[in-house]
């Protein structure tokens, strides 16, 4: 025993150096200077998302007007210093409505991504982990879902549940399950063959433990990327459904809905469509850019060699 202690101590000498090497790789203060700003799309995307989140939080309190206040004397005013985005057919301030809409949009996006990711993750995880019948049944089900456009599935669900903000979230979420399920499935299939799962099995870990304690932490990074890109998709789908009258109901200020209610006046008052449209574009674009940057960062295969 004594001899091993001595070995231990000498080995530590080498080990300490190794620890230094390992810690040299990760320094938190470097995250901004080295990681985010070396990756310009990450930087742009994160700044834009940051601004959007700020707007979603404080937007309603800085809005110059009430988003639902009618003012028939100021109908169809073009953009001016009083109403920088103009007013709509009811004289409501478009700028205030778009600002309020940021929060609504984030709420819908987050909640539906949450639903889609939670179920998709579970389906993909079980399908990828189990080999045999369950895998086939689950993935064929996902294949069937993939044979319809997502918007169609969401529309059918809303038609069935009735149009409301809550049902819109559920519908958009369910329509995106297939996407998360398939990505999770692919990632799990890769991780599934790594020896650390065998090692867990040998020390007695059951299937649930292997899946939730061992697999999930290892598949989270790619799923974060997918969820970010999925957020953009969810915002777009929600706006689309609201535009069709199947989502958020008036007078709630939702971008798709604002766009929709302005569509009759496209010639007379184009600002009714331009500004909510721009808002949707900016939100979708920033999440897509951020997601792409995140993927470059987390996927070592695509990383440029340092």
């Amino acid at each position: 025993m004594n001899k091993r202690k001595i070995d231990n101590i000498i080995e530590d000498l080498g080990q300490i150096e190794f620890d230094e090497r390992a810690s040299a790789k990760f320094k938190f203060k470097d995250i901004f200077s080295k990681v985010i700003f070396k990756n310009p799309s990450m930087a742009i995307g994160s700044i834009m998302i940051f601004l959007l989140i700020i707007l979603a939080i404080i937007g309603p309190s800085i809005a110059p007007y009430d988003s639902q206040e009618l003012n028939m004397s100021e109908r169809f005013e073009s953009p001016s210093w009083n109403h920088i985005f103009g007013t709509d057919n009811m004289g409501r301030d478009i700028f205030s409505r778009v600002l309020h809409g940021t929060r609504v949009t984030f709420k819908i996006g987050l909640a539906s991504v949450g639903i889609g990711l939670a179920f998709g993750l579970l389906i993909g995880l079980f399908a990828g982990y189990s080999r045999g019948k369950l895998q086939n049944v689950l993935m064929r089900f996902i294949d069937i879902l993939y044979s319809f456009p997502a918007l169609l599935i969401a529309m059918a669900l809303v038609a069935f549940l009735g149009p409301s903000t809550r049902n819109l979230i559920i519908a958009v979420g369910i329509a995106s399950i297939r996407y998360y399920a398939r990505v999770t499935y692919g990632v799990v299939l890769v991780e599934r063959n790594k020896p650390y799962l065998d090692a867990a099995e040998i020390v007695g870990a059951g299937a649930l433990r292997q899946m939730f304690r061992h697999l999930i932490p290892n598949i989270v990074p790619p799923l974060i990327v997918v969820a970010t890109l999925g957020f953009a998709g969810a915002v777009l789908n929600a706006a689309g459904l609201s535009f069709l009258g199947l989502g958020v109901q008036p007078p709630t200020p939702e971008w798709g809905l604002i766009l929709s209610s302005g569509r009759n006046y496209i010639i007379r008052a184009p600002w009714l469509l331009i500004f909510p449209g721009l808002a949707i574009m900016v939100a979708v674009l920033s999440f897509n850019i951020f997601g792409d940057g995140l993927r470059d960062l987390l996927d070592p295969k695509q990383q440029r060699k340092v």
Partner: protein, 350 residues
């Protein structure tokens, strides 16, 4: 990879060897290779010097991260730059300094004079082209010979590397060949332009023992036939003993010992070499001694030092059982301790 370029050089499979006339073919001096930027970098190769004579096999032996592969890549001019920086030193080949050649000239050297084979031949073979096509296309492009001629020579090369049924193999794809066959194809391709030096980077590490023995035999055989010098990079001291004439031991980017192979195994001077030789299990103890007692392996404490850390003094000092104060402060240089046997260690002077 070795691509033949020089025109009109006859391809002979048997060359009369001329062993008495020893001349230095390649001389590497004070080579420093950094990775990173001028401000912030790690030193991968630190003041390495050695030479290769005609017709000899020099083995560079060391553990992972000791700089042996980087050294061999620098001879081929294959260090990616950036991030690689060849900071200092020279690589003289036939009176040319390879480090100052233009890209075009270097490409010629790579094809005609120095060829290289790697550990995993699959990565240097194109999976969607047949073996014969890959071998003959290279020869056609660089030697300017006809398709028919190139094909004939490719078959000749496959025969040289003892591949059975070479005509049939020519039509096969790399994945249809076993690991040993692929390595033979790589050797054949590398030799098709009759290089003066063949650099082999762990060519047998991925192979099974019986196949490894075949490849080692083949390389010895070819060396005798073609009088090619071989630079053999490996971590395996058993393989070194089987193939090398001279050995260079590297540790943490530096050369620490150099000697003829028998001399090195019998009288290792550097404590690291000594430690390595004692740390490997050996079968010969069962074969030679009658009452061999199985001893615990002499283990070397600690691990290879971090390349992120600047080393004052001897890089092996923290793990060395003989280390004194001097070792931690002054860096030992390679010195001839016994005629023909050089080492970078303070111990012989005490």
């Amino acid at each position: 990879m070795g691509k033949p370029e020089k025109k009109g050089r006859a391809l002979t499979t048997v060359v009369a060897s001329n062993p008495t006339n020893i001349e230095t073919l390649l001389r590497v001096e004070n080579l420093d290779i950094l990775f990173g930027t001028a401000k912030q970098h790690v030193v991968a190769v630190d003041g390495v010097s050695f030479k290769i004579n005609t017709g000899e096999t020099l083995a560079i032996v060391g553990e992972s991260g000791c700089g042996k592969t980087v050294t061999s890549l620098s001879i081929m001019g294959l260090i990616p730059c950036p991030p690689g920086i060849i900071d200092n030193g020279s690589i003289q080949f036939n009176g040319k300094d390879l480090l100052h050649l233009k890209m075009e000239e270097m490409r010629k050297v790579r094809g005609n004079d120095i060829a290289m084979i790697f550990q995993e031949p699959m990565t240097s073979l194109n999976p969607v082209l047949t073996v014969g096509l890959q071998m003959s296309e290279a020869m056609m492009a660089h030697k300017g010979i006809s398709r028919k001629e190139a094909r004939k020579r490719a078959i000749e090369m496959l025969k040289l590397v003892q591949i059975p049924e070479p005509e049939k193999r020519m039509e096969q794809y790399p994945h249809q060949l076993s690991g040993g066959m692929r390595q033979r194809v790589m050797i054949g391709t590398a030799l098709s332009c009759e290089p003066k030096i063949l650099i082999a980077d762990e060519p047998t590490t991925a192979l099974d023992v019986t196949v490894q023995a075949q490849i080692l035999d083949l390389m010895n055989d070819i060396k005798a036939k073609l009088d090619t010098s071989i630079l053999f990079i490996t971590h395996d001291l058993g393989v070194v003993a089987e193939i090398a004439d001279r050995v260079l031991v590297m540790y943490a980017g530096r050369t620490i010992e150099e000697a003829l192979v028998t001399e090195l195994y019998e009288n290792p001077i550097h404590p690291y070499t000594e430690g390595l030789l004692r740390a490997i299990p050996r079968l010969d103890q069962y074969l030679s001694a009658d009452n061999s007692v199985k001893e615990a392996l002499k283990q070397m404490p600690g691990i290879v030092p971090s390349i992120y850390k600047k080393i004052e003094g001897c890089s092996f000092a923290p793990r060395c059982p003989y280390a004194r104060k001097q070792c931690g402060q002054e860096r030992p240089v390679m010195k001839e301790v016994v005629p023909g046997h050089r080492a970078a260690c303070w111990k012989p002077e005490w």
